[in-house]
């Protein structure tokens, strides 16, 4: 005896978190039922496989109907079709847009194009994330990216408003197309990059200055995902710090005298100061050229992190050095620039 038609509709839409997860992970109904069975629900509730199947199908149908609304979360709040308590709505959106960090790490900085989508099979195999889930997450990235592309104002806030969540890091990376896939960057996790993105947006973007952007300023028209052009332009002025030998020496003596006796790798620091300083300043100077922007993280790793690591700097050493290195010069631009660089380096300085 088969049930051709079998539906359950509640006035308040029932959301089963476990089934939602299974659905998000891209399992078919049969797979989901099998997993729920393994979870021991049968024994706990004393029910039958048929009941479990019917229940799973019901939830899947609900999620499929909800998916259209999840593509535009504010609509979920306004729609009349499903009566869902607000905290459940929030849960639905959060889970739907949550991403596997492994996958996000793979996609960071890649163009969210059809080509990339085609490569998802490999990504899925590498990360162990189900292909259907990969595609959904990829589409999520793309949807968010597309939606905020045209918008003005602070990126994070825009995303928060449109999608009710924090998605800024991914969009920021997709926008700036930083290189993240090189072998020497493999030790960095998605969380590392997300933290860096946050620092960079926090310190460098237009909204970060604490005052509303001047609407007449050229960058007010730019989407917030890009770093403000005037700021990047200004960064070129910093090159003088390494180009001018006197300034470089002065900087070195200020930092060294401050750190003498306080840092275990003092000798190494003294020996490497010029190279490190050059690297730190040049990374900023190159940000004006899109081609060089890609190398931002590569440069930081190659020219700062790796030398320090081979000299066995401790994270504490690096922190002290960067603090004094920054403090040795009093200039708003310099401090704004170094604040993000310091945060990034400290976050990235691990094995």
């Amino acid at each position: 005896m088969s049930s051709d038609l079998d539906v359950f509709v509640g006035n308040t839409t029932l959301i089963d978190e476990e089934v939602y997860r299974l659905w998000l992970d891209g399992h078919s109904v049969a797979e989901a039922v099998a997993r729920r069975l393994r979870g021991g629900v049968l024994e706990r509730e004393g029910t039958s496989v048929a009941v479990l199947q019917s229940d799973t199908r019901d939830h899947y149908r609900t999620f499929q109907m909800l998916e259209r609304l999840l593509h535009a979360p504010p609509r979920l709040l306004q729609q009349l079709l499903f009566q869902i308590p607000p905290e459940r709505q929030a849960l639905l959106v959060q889970r739907y847009y949550a991403f596997d960090e492994a996958l996000a790490r793979e996609l960071l900085g890649k163009k969210l194009s059809k080509g990339t989508k085609k490569e998802l099979d490999e990504v899925s195999a590498r990360t162990g994330v189900g292909i259907r889930s990969c595609r959904r997450q990829f589409d999520n990235f793309k949807r968010v990216f597309k939606a905020v592309e045209e918008l003005r104002g602070p990126l994070a806030e825009n995303i928060q408003q449109l999608f009710l969540l924090d998605y800024a890091a991914i969009v920021f990376f997709a926008n700036s197309r930083f290189e993240t896939g090189k072998r020497r960057l493999q030790f960095l996790s998605f969380a590392d990059f997300a933290a860096c993105a946050q620092s960079m947006m926090g310190h460098w973007s237009q909204g970060a200055l604490g005052e509303p952007p001047d609407p007449r300023a050229p960058e007010a028209a730019e989407p917030d995902g890009d770093l403000p052009k005037s700021f990047l332009q200004d960064l070129k002025e910093l090159k003088v710090l390494v180009a001018d030998k006197d300034l470089l020496d002065q900087h070195k003596s200020l930092v060294c005298s401050a750190l003498r006796g306080k840092i275990s790798v003092y000798n190494e620091l003294e020996a490497n100061f010029k190279a490190l300083s050059r690297a730190l300043v040049n990374v900023g100077g190159k940000l004006t050229h899109a081609r060089d922007v890609r190398d931002f993280f590569v440069d930081l790793v190659e020219k700062v992190i790796e030398p320090c690591r081979s000299d066995k700097w401790s994270p504490g050493d690096l922190r002290l050095f960067l603090t004094h290195y920054t403090a040795a010069r009093h200039q708003a631009l310099w401090e704004r620039y170094m604040a993000a660089i310091t945060a990034c380096l400290l976050r990235m300085y691990h094995d």
Binding site: S3, D4, L5, D6, N11, T47, R75, Q78, L81, P86
Partner: protein, 1032 residues
């Protein structure tokens, strides 16, 4: 020009993309009422148009206002071709027509298309200015309030309960008109939706007129249904109970105008008072249905069964004369009415004096033989016939009234089964007659029927019993006789004393039937019906015993007819009434002795059954207080005849013996296993799995034994369609399949709702349909309510205290004496038969053996009655006056604050008449909606399940939107009256019709109420959740 309707179209949102090129829509709106249409400007290139239209004004008379729905159509403007319809919104403006309900309808409505479903939303504001109508002969009945709730609505008091009102209108079904061949499915669906909406309006107006005629101001327990007869037409019919209600906030206000007229009416029993000349002009009913017409229509009157809990015998000697007096008065009050029926299921305390038992009548009709299908006469006559039968059954049970009355139909091709059922009852004359009765008599009545058990006392004379019955003295008051089992269609009276908890009991049955045509088909159906009724009854009895209980409430038996089978599904809530005797067990007897293995098997079964009973008693906490035999008086020794089956038969008389013998002369609870069928039956008894722990279920409003609900509720609808076929279907395999289907469905519900444990499924309402050969469709609507487990235990310990508490919250109708089981309530009584309890018990040693013969003769009588061809009868004009304040008996609950801060206002829906932990402060009007959904891309919409899932969700959404627009935050007494699903997978098509209704209300959480300064409900605050949904 009695009314002005004003409509403003504010905005739209989330419209579908109608222009693929631009991905946008050029939307405008047509507003139509009657024959007048207005249009808004086109709002170009937007999916969120802001029309902000002027006020469109329609000047119409109030008859039109009642009949017509407001029709709002959203279209996409197209310069070169015809404008494309996006969808429609129908708004019933009836709630705006009476002063106490809503004053404005304003909010976002889903735009609905019968092919695409919901497509965006539209914000509309509707107002009505009503002018006073001085025309006495008016056709409208504006101002009469309608309630689906089958009890006196919570914030009202019943001044008079007038009685039964019914009406029926017929029209050609647009789907069967010639034009349907050339129009699109959309046009056809919309024509049907509009027609039903119009007919509903007309029906409601006509019923309203009848109520006004009776000097009432409201209809309670209003139930409207439609019958899709196919070729012969589309019938919309409704029944209800006319009342004069008084808003409770001004209870101090003394009976308003209705008092004096009702007196006058009582004097001239109101059959068409000529002063109300309007009646014949607009009431189309029955002019004279002649006998000849009736004979032209093929009609089979079906033998009817009366399930009683056994009855008869009034109280001890002293009670006798008084009882007679009471009966005479009730009789005179009720006999003025053609049909002393009440659609109510819950009553003011003291209203119900005695309950006789369930009365039901069925009749098989052929639709293609209707003489004049476009006129309502024939159907009117059919129903009159059935109602007459019900009335006579009630009389046979010594009752003058029928309560918990309902009517239904089942149609398959040209065959239609009409069914009616209710509970025969004796009502308190004080409630039926106005004012004058209040004297010494009133006092006595109150005392004569102890509130906790009075309704269980048998209503008719013990010496004049129409059928054999097994009587004992009431286990509660020990003064009067009670039956050993009681079946009713009403809700458990609040004052009833119950032991333990209740549970849902279902009897399920399939019967194969040969495919046949016309008369042959009707005859074979009507031949099957008595057997089905009988078996349903047996099943219910056995299942009741198996649970150790002794009474059924809310009994609803549905017989569904299909091409090649009949299905019966009976649902009821079993309880243990403290007043009734403890049920005996079930015994199995084998037919073939001297077979060791067989005997072993039998004893094994017996053990299983005994175990089940023991387990159930524990599960439902049935531990009746052990009363020493001497106190109660030993049960009347009587041959063990316990089943009460009365039937009338009109077709073949030889069936009478065949049927009646089987049950009347044997012990009903000895199950004989003489063949495999019987074995199957016993097995099926045991397959009913009790709900998982933490769950209870019932089909009544209140779950007996649980009264500490928390405000968390979840209303749901579940639908299943299953193929019952086996290669060689037999009754047994079909029964088993059907049984499994129901059990699995219940199991599935318990699983779905497991997060709400401890919880109770209340008002579980199953409906069965047979859409095609071997396809069975079951639809369930119910509400799950969480309760507080700790409090439940306490409450259960002291049922008497509980009822006392409840009684004390009722302000006026205080029960006159406490209900303690052991106290002597008799000292205060002028008539006190109690002192004779012991003698009485011994003197009434039992029912004479002659009773059995009397039973047979009674059956003969009924049979004779049923055989007489009934002539067309006068249309109902009943009036039942009652001048009694209704004590408002809603329960106070522990309340939990709720969070409602979403942008869309939350609307609760429940099939119950109340919301736990909340107080209903205002009734905003009736919600009665009918939708059709059709698809030609079934697979793409997720198959039949995807299609129906979406449709039901859409129906809920539209109901909620309408309630929110009225300013409400809940629908109570919600019911899905119809869900007709048809599919054609080969063509990738499906169609579904859904009809729902309920009462839109505003409720306030009790926790919120308490925080407010004490103030009567007049100044009830608007719930927070109903705000925030007006305009953007």
């Amino acid at each position: 020009m009695p009314g002005k309707l004003k409509v403003k179209i504010v905005a739209g949102r989330h419209l579908p993309v109608m222009d693929r090129a631009s991905d946008l829509t050029d939307a405008f709106v047509e507003v139509k009422f009657g024959n007048t249409t207005f249009k808004t400007d086109v709002y170009p290139k937007s999916l969120n148009p802001q029309w902000n239209s002027e006020w469109f004004k329609f000047e119409v008379d109030d008859e039109e206002l009642q009949d017509e729905p407001l029709q709002i159509t959203v279209l996409d403007h197209d310069t070169y071709s015809a404008n494309d319809a996006i969808g429609k919104v129908y708004i019933d403006i009836d709630p705006l027509l009476y002063s106490e309900a809503a004053t404005v309808i304003s909010g976002w409505f889903p735009i609905y298309d019968t092919i695409h479903g919901i497509r965006g939303e539209i914000n509309v504001v509707v107002k009505v200015d009503l002018f006073n109508d001085l025309n006495r002969f008016r056709q409208s009945s504006c101002g009469v309030k309608f309630f689906c709730t089958t009890s006196i609505p919570k914030c009202y008091r019943a001044v008079i309960i007038h009685g039964f009102v019914e009406e029926l209108v017929v029209n050609e079904d647009p789907e069967y008109q010639w034009i349907d061949r050339i129009r699109t499915p959309r046009a056809s669906n919309e024509a049907r939706q509009r027609l039903i909406s119009l007919m509903s309006g007309e029906l409601q107006r006509k019923i309203g007129l009848k109520v006004l005629e009776m000097r009432g101001n409201a209809v309670v327990g209003y139930l409207q249904c439609f019958d899709l007869e196919g070729e012969s037409g589309l019938v919309v019919r409704a029944i209800g109970t006319a009342c004069t209600l008084d808003k409770l906030s001004n209870t101090s206000a003394f009976l308003p105008a209705c008092n004096s007229p009702s007196k006058e009416m009582k004097e001239s029993p109101l059959v068409h008072p000529p002063s109300h000349g309007c009646r014949s002009t607009h009431n189309s009913p029955i002019h004279t249905a002649t006998g000849s017409r009736l004979t032209q229509n093929f009609s089979v009157s079906v033998p009817t069964l009366i399930y009683t809990g056994m009855g008869s015998g009034s109280a001890g000697k002293e009670g006798g004369p008084f009882k007679t007096l009471l009966r005479q008065q009730t009789q005179s009050a009720l006999e003025q009415r053609e049909f002393p029926f009440f659609t109510l299921t819950t009553f003011p305390p003291g209203f119900l004096v005695h309950v006789g038992g369930v009365v039901s009548a069925r009749s098989v009709k052929l639709l293609d033989r209707i003489h004049n299908p476009d006129e309502p006469e024939t159907r009117d006559a059919w129903w009159a016939e059935i109602r007459q039968e019900i009335k006579s059954h009630a009389k046979a049970l010594g009752c003058h009234a029928v309560v918990g009355y309902s009517e239904s139909t089942s149609i398959c091709e040209e065959v239609c089964i009409l069914s009616a059922s209710g509970t025969a009852a004796v009502l308190n004359p004080r409630f039926l007659q106005d004012g004058t009765m209040e004297g010494c008599l009133e006092q006595r009545i109150e005392e004569a029927s102890p509130p906790g058990c009075g309704f269980c006392h048998i209503p008719y004379d013990e010496l004049n019993m129409p059928f054999p019955a097994h009587l004992t003295y009431c286990y509660n008051c020990r003064k009067q006789k009670v039956p050993d089992v009681l079946f009713t269609t009403i809700d458990l009276p609040v004052e009833a004393i119950v032991v333990g908890k209740g549970c849902l009991i279902q009897a399920r049955l399939c019967r194969l039937k040969k495919k046949a045509q016309a008369e042959a088909n009707a005859t074979s159906i009507s031949n099957l019906l008595p057997f089905m009724e009988y078996e349903v009854h047996t099943q219910l009895m056995n299942k009741l015993k198996l649970r150790g209980m002794n009474a059924l409430f809310g009994l609803r038996i549905q017989i569904t007819v299909g091409e090649n089978m009949l299905m019966g599904l009976a649902s009821a809530t079993g309880v243990y009434l403290a007043a009734l005797p403890t049920p005996g067990g079930i015994q199995i007897a084998g037919k073939t002795p001297n077979d060791a293995t067989y005997d072993q098997h039998i004893s094994h079964m017996q053990k299983k059954i005994n175990d089940t009973i023991a387990k159930n008693k524990e599960l439902y906490e049935i531990n009746p207080p052990e009363l020493p035999e001497e106190i109660i008086g030993s049960p009347i020794p009587e041959p063990r005849q316990r089943s009460r089956l009365l039937r009338s038969q009109s077709e073949s008389s030889d069936e009478v013996t065949e049927l009646d013998l089987s049950h009347g002369k044997k012990d009903a609870f000895v199950l004989e296993i003489d063949d495999t069928d019987a074995m199957e039956d016993v097995h099926s008894l045991l397959t009913d799995v009790p709900p998982p722990s933490g769950f209870y279920s019932c089909n009544t409003e209140i779950m007996p034994g649980i009264n500490n609900w928390t405000p968390e509720i979840q209303m749901f609808t579940a639908v299943r369609v299953s193929r019952l076929s086996t290669i060689n279907p037999t009754n047994q395999t079909l029964n088993k399949n059907f049984n499994d289907l129901c059990e699995n469905l219940l199991k599935s519900l318990y699983f779905k709702l497991r997060s709400m444990v401890p919880c109770c499924l209340c008002h579980v309402n199953f409906t069965v349909a047979l859409p095609e050969d071997e396809l069975v469709q079951i639809a369930v609507t119910a509400v799950a309510i969480t309760y507080d487990k700790n409090q439940a235990l306490q409450a259960n310990k002291a049922p008497t205290e509980k009822s006392q508490q409840r009684a004390s919250t009722d302000n006026e109708e205080q029960l006159q004496f406490p209900l303690e089981l052991c106290s002597d309530p008799l000292s205060s009584q002028p008539f006190s038969p109690a002192k004779e309890v012991l003698e009485g018990a011994s003197s009434h040693t039992g029912i004479p053996a002659a009773q059995r013969d009397r039973c047979n003769s009674w059956i003969e009588l009924i049979k004779l009655k049923a055989q007489t061809i009934r002539r067309g009868s006068i249309k109902t004009t009943t009036s039942l006056e009652k001048a009694s304040p209704l004590a408002e008996g809603y329960l106070r609950h522990r309340s939990v604050p709720s969070c409602t801060n979403s942008t869309v206002s939350v609307v609760k829906m429940t099939p119950l008449s109340f919301l736990p932990g909340a107080k209903i402060t205002k009734y905003l009007g009736i919600i009665n909606m009918f939708f059709i959904r059709e698809t030609t891309s079934l697979r793409e919409e997720g198959g039949v399940s995807g299609f129906l899932h979406a449709f039901i969700a859409e129906v809920f959404a539209m109901v909620r939107a309408h309630v929110a627009a009225l300013g409400g935050n809940a629908v109570v007494s919600y019911i899905m009256k119809q869900c007709v699903f048809m599919e054609n997978p080969n063509k990738n098509q499906a169609q579904c019709l859904i009809n729902v209704s309920g009462d839109a209300v505003i409720f306030v959480r009790e926790s919120e109420l308490e925080m407010l300064p004490v103030q009567p409900s007049t100044a009830a605050p608007q719930p927070t959740s109903s705000a925030g949904d007006v305009t953007t």
